[in-house]
């Protein structure tokens, strides 16, 4: 028998401190962002800085015959004119394949590809200089049809070929069949990240020559640095990056845009150079969400249990590879959605065309897959005579289930709970148009196009699974440094704060673990190891894990110090509130006092568990972890005009543990707005390889009148694999909200026989609803 001694320490009854984990302290940059004093990267300036600007290709595909810059040089105020010939280092860059030229030298492959850059005393001088550059093009036949890229019927438009990646997944019995078979072909349009803070950078060359310091709004300082240094022909330690204020990212800041150009001009001039894109240039200057065509065929038993899924994915990657291969991996490995599936045959292609380059955007391939698999689940429900919730619960995935890649889902997988908690949320209690029958609340809104009698209401569901962190063997890590001195913590990391709120939770972690209230955040720059990218819903897990680990190491040093002084075993010390206490004795000393005159300083690299590449049959543990979410949309539809008003989104999201509930709700609401945008309005329109709506008059984002109230339940089942139990929450909200909204529109459009309309394309356009015959190529 053992005797368990009750600790004699008396617990303080102090209220929970506001700034710790689980509370929702205000963002440290929140007030400044609201009152306008926050310095975004477009606000950066330096004494005597020159302005830079970029000359871009007007053609989707053309050979460059000649570039004559002599007239540009003659313009007063022009300081520099550079082309591919002026790139001292590597001529190309890219996140995975280095296939994208800093400047096109022989061939341009999309409308908007950089050909030259200038620096001058004023943006207007830059504009004139760009006009004065004489480029002679010999136009080539553009490759605009992804199927032609797959079929090999178009000559390669790049030395790396027209297929960026083909990935096959074969699981179980490829010949298995089900009594019920449903199929469809789905299209996803090209969405833009449309961050409000446009691309901007300030490059400051070192006095005395050599290196350069770049202030830049980016998602990954160290990855940028590697690519920039290679193109500049400089060792990495001569290129220092400082995070400029970031006004949104959503994946669009993962790739290089103006970084290399700005540094090249600054180094050439030996003085600071500022570059900034306007909205039209921003559409050309960053990658977009991949447009996709996805065919899926689901086989199921008569009562709706999935037997096999066949699928074919075609993702148009545009002119350069960017992250297309990883986006494709995500798309094909999420074919099944959050449902069990024993047999599968999936083929996916990411191809190169002369369209705008595509790469990372919130949801990263899973958005596309989810629109297809959720549309299929509704078809399956209809074919089996079950309702959308029933069919999903019938197939729901649980922890321990294998994916079609053979990977076992080890993450906490509360899919059923997400669905049930969402279903338990109240439906809107107001009738169509609201109790006051305000025309603004009907589809068409301010346009007063409908009266209540013209409008029908529908309800739709979307449920999704999303991988967290980087996949396929990537050495993914994050670094954090924690310094505790005189009761004050300073945290240093290179984690890009893009609005997601890591700067808030980093402090919460430190306060919780170290019992201090004063936490300073050092400048976010390359003066510490890489934090990896702010993407893939990974920073709470990865940089949160790094900050957590660094703080714990510091706490060990602190306990050793206190234990030394008092002749105790450090193992019996713990933090209670803001004190160090002896769990076996009477000692209680404030952390501030215990650290007076002391400095504890630890730097930690946090890594998630390793992953592997898929084999040729698409088998392998390629992902780290998964998060789940359910969405239910209520949408009012004017069937005759094809206009919609989303009335409510209900959601229950698997968050692991909400470190900052208010931030989580912010991510949920913002992600749903982005999912709504893809569902009903956001699309880059290209005709013959030329973008037709590179402005916010015609690229429409949801307004307050389009965005409905969100009712949300946070499903908190801490994930034992996550360092803080917390899963990333950024991507799931935008993934299944899109198919939920479309499903609700279909539901509202049921005919007298109860059949829903197919609506196989997003965004759903008014004409897709209103003009029968255009909505459904296969329906």
């Amino acid at each position: 028998m053992s005797i368990v001694e009750t600790p004699r320490v008396t617990r303080t009854e102090a209220p929970v401190r506001d700034g710790v984990i689980g509370r929702s302290p205000l963002r440290p940059d929140g007030i400044a962002k609201v009152d306008g004093s926050f310095q975004f990267s477009s606000d950066l300036h330096a004494e005597g800085a020159a302005w830079g600007a970029t000359l871009r290709s007007p053609h989707p595909h053309a050979r460059i015959v000649s570039i004559d810059v002599s007239k540009a040089w003659k313009i007063d105020g022009v300081d520099a004119v550079i082309t591919a010939a002026d790139v001292p280092g590597k001529a190309t860059y890219g996140l995975i394949a280095h296939d994208q030229p800093v400047f096109a030298s022989d061939v341009v492959r999309y409308v908007g590809e950089p050909v030259a850059a200038v620096a001058a005393d004023h943006p207007e001088t830059c504009r004139r200089a760009l006009e004065a550059i004489d480029v002679v093009y010999d136009e080539l036949e553009p490759l605009l049809d992804p199927e032609a890229a797959i079929a090999g019927t178009h000559p390669p438009i790049h030395p790396d070929g027209n297929v960026v990646r083909h990935q096959r997944i074969v699981r179980g019995d490829p010949d298995a069949t089900g009594e019920v078979v449903v199929e469809g072909t789905y299209e996803i349009g090209m969405q833009d990240q449309a961050f409000l803070g446009l691309e901007a950078a300030l490059a400051i060359p070192d006095s005395g020559g050599g290196g350069v310091e770049l202030h830049i709004a980016t998602q990954w300082l160290h990855e940028d640095r590697g690519q920039i240094a290679a193109c500049l022909g400089l060792p990495e330690d001569q290129v220092r990056l400082v995070l400029g204020g970031v006004g949104g990212a959503f994946g669009a800041r993962e790739d290089i845009s103006l970084q290399v150009h700005t540094c090249l001009l600054a180094l050439r001039l030996g003085k600071p150079v500022r570059m900034a894109y306007d909205r039209a240039e921003s559409f050309l200057g960053h990658v977009h969400r991949h447009p996709a065509t996805i065919w899926m065929r689901h086989h199921a038993t008569a009562d709706g249990e999935i037997v096999k899924i066949e699928a074919r994915f075609v993702l148009d990657g545009g002119a350069y590879a960017s992250t297309s291969s990883a986006v494709l991996l995500n798309a094909v490995t999420h074919t099944q959605g959050p449902y069990r599936c024993p047999n599968a045959v999936v083929d996916g292609w990411a191809v190169r065309t002369n369209h705008l380059p595509c790469g990372a955007m919130r949801g990263f391939g899973v958005v596309q897959a989810c629109f297809a698999h959720e549309s299929q689940m509704d078809r399956l429900a209809e074919a089996c005579g079950r309702d959308p919730v029933e069919i999903r619960l019938r197939n729901v995935m649980r922890t321990g289930d294998p994916l079609i890649t053979g990977q076992v889902v080890e993450s906490v997988a509360p899919v059923e709970r997400c669905i049930r908690e969402t279903a338990a949320l109240p439906l809107p209690d107001e009738p169509i148009g609201g109790r006051d029958a305000d025309p603004m609340r009907l589809p068409g809104g301010a346009g007063r196009t409908a009266d209540v009698g013209h409008v029908r209401r529908g309800i739709g569901w979307g449920v999704s699974i999303k991988n967290l962190m980087y996949s396929e063997g990537f050495d993914d890590y994050s670094t954090a440094r924690c310094r505790l001195a005189d009761g004050r913590v300073t945290l240093k990391f290179a984690t890009a704060e893009v609005g997601q709120g890591f700067v808030t939770i980093a402090g919460q972690i430190a306060r919780t673990i170290l019992g201090v209230d004063d936490v300073d955040l050092a400048r976010i720059d390359t003066g510490v190891g890489s934090a990896g990218s702010t993407s893939a819903s990974r920073q709470t897990w990865m940089s949160g894990g790094a900050v957590d680990a660094a703080c714990r190491q510091v706490r060990e040093r602190l306990f050793e110090h206190v234990a030394d002084l008092h002749g105790l075993d450090p193992l019996q010390l713990e933090i209670d509130g803001t004190d160090v206490v002896d769990t076996l004795g009477d000692l209680r000393v404030p952390v501030a006092a215990a650290t007076a005159g002391q400095v504890f300083d630890e730097t930690v690299e946090y890594r998630h568990r390793p992953t592997v590449d898929l084999d040729e049959n698409g088998q392998g543990d390629c992902h780290v972890a998964f998060a789940f979410v359910a969405h239910r949309a209520v949408v009012d539809v004017d069937p005759e005009l094809g206009l919609v008003k989303v009335v409510q989104i209900a959601t229950a999201q698997d968050v692991g543990r909400a470190l900052n509930p208010l931030s989580v709700i912010g991510q949920i609401e913002g992600g749903i707005a982005q999912g709504l945008g893809l569902a009903v309005m956001e699309e880059i329109v290209q005709v013959d390889g030329r973008i037709r709506n590179a402005n916010f008059t015609d690229y429409l984002l949801p307004t307050m009148l389009d965005m409905p109230p969100v009712v949300a339940t946070l499903v908190e089942e801490p994930d034992p694999q996550a360092p803080l139990g917390a899963k990333g929450v950024g991507e799931p909200p935008c993934i299944s909200s899109t198919p939920a909204i479309v499903a609700a529109i279909r539901d509202a459009l049921r005919d007298d026989a109860g059949r829903a309309r197919p609506l196989v394309r997003v965004p759903v356009r008014p004409q897709d609803i209103a003009l029968s015959g255009t909505a459904s190529p296969d329906g």
């Binding site: 504009r127 306007d278 039209a280 029958a437 603004m440 589809p443 068409g444 809104g445 301010a446 346009g447 007063r448 196009t449 409908a450 009266d451 209540v452 009698g453 013209h454 005759e640 005009l641 094809g642 206009l643 008003k645 009903v680 309005m681 329109v685 005709v687 037709r692 709506n693 402005n695 008059t697 015609d698 429409l700 949801p702 307004t703 307050m704 009148l705 389009d706 356009r765 008014p766 004409q767 209103a770 003009l771």
Partner: protein
């Protein structure tokens, strides 16, 4: 580049007489977008050297009702926000509804009715209302003033009869006795450019129905066949319209549209939207708002 800031209409006309190519700037909600996009230039070779900023001209910012109370003259500098407020909103309800569909509150605080005319976009939200009301547009220049029908004022896409050195001073519309309203289809619920729009105005004493269509032709167009059909088939005594009449009215209105396919929509959808909006507007006019 010089900016002239006249304080009176006289000064504005003089400034324009001295600089006939000058850019007239009121709210700037169209001009500044074009300038920022590089589609319009000022202060450079081949572009206006002078901007005449008319937002402080008091005469342009006021409105007057004629002594008989039957005609309203609205200064060109009256903003959309002012058009949405009383008493103007009750004088010309369709213009208030159209104004509410323009941009955001900030844009409506700056943008003016005269600017809407000066830009003369087929998607201009105030223009179908002015067309349906047979508005008169008052112009002033160095050689005097003239008044033209709004139908003659609009020549083509962003083209008007304004001569160099001329300025739009005001618009006169009749205060009709009858229901009037504006409808606009766009791809989101506010702050959106028109895919197609329509204004319907009824004049009870003359038993006439007017309908004007936006975004479906190079300029705003009326649908005269639909108008005369409605005048002849509406039950004026009971103030009622039957569904067949409303349906035919919609079809006739759509037939007057000459829409195009572009990146915003298709010609087929635009025509369809006119059909639906015209029918619903007529039903609203003769049954009142939806009773539910």
């Amino acid at each position: 580049m010089a900016v002239v800031v006249p304080m009176s209409l006289r000064e504005a006309v003089d400034a324009l007489a001295a600089n006939p190519g000058a850019l007239v700037l009121a709210g700037g909600t169209d001009a500044m977008v074009e300038i920022n996009d590089g589609h319009r230039r000022v202060g450079h070779a081949g572009s206006p050297e002078v901007v005449v900023a008319v937002d402080r001209v008091a005469e342009l910012r006021s409105w007057t009702l004629d002594p008989g109370g039957s005609r309203l003259t609205i200064g060109a500098g009256v903003t959309y926000t002012e058009l949405m407020e009383e008493p103007l909103a009750s004088f010309v309800p369709a213009l208030a509804e159209a104004s509410r569909t323009v941009g955001s509150p900030q844009i409506r605080n700056a943008g003016t009715l005269g600017g809407n005319l000066g830009t003369c976009s087929p998607a201009g939200d105030g223009l179908p209302v002015l067309s349906a009301l047979d508005a008169e547009v008052h112009l002033a220049g160095a050689t005097g003033t003239r008044t033209v029908s709004v139908h003659d004022f609009m020549v083509g896409v962003k083209q008007t009869v304004l001569a160099p050195g001329e300025i739009i001073t005001a618009v006169t519309v009749p205060l009709l006795d009858g229901w009037q309203g504006y409808s606009k289809v766009g791809v989101r619920n506010a702050m959106v450019i028109a895919t197609a729009s329509a204004c319907l105005a009824v004049d009870q004493p003359t038993r006439s129905v007017r309908i004007a269509l936006g975004s479906v032709a190079p300029t705003i167009v009326r649908a005269p066949e639909a108008e005369s059909f409605a005048a002849g088939h509406v039950d004026w005594g009971a103030g009622h319209v039957d569904p067949a009449t409303a349906g035919e009215f919609g079809r006739l209105a759509a037939a007057a549209a000459r829409p195009i396919d572009d990146h915003r929509s298709s010609a087929a959808y635009r025509r369809h939207a006119i059909d639906v909006m015209a029918r619903r507007l007529l039903e609203r006019a003769f049954r009142g708002a939806d009773p539910t």
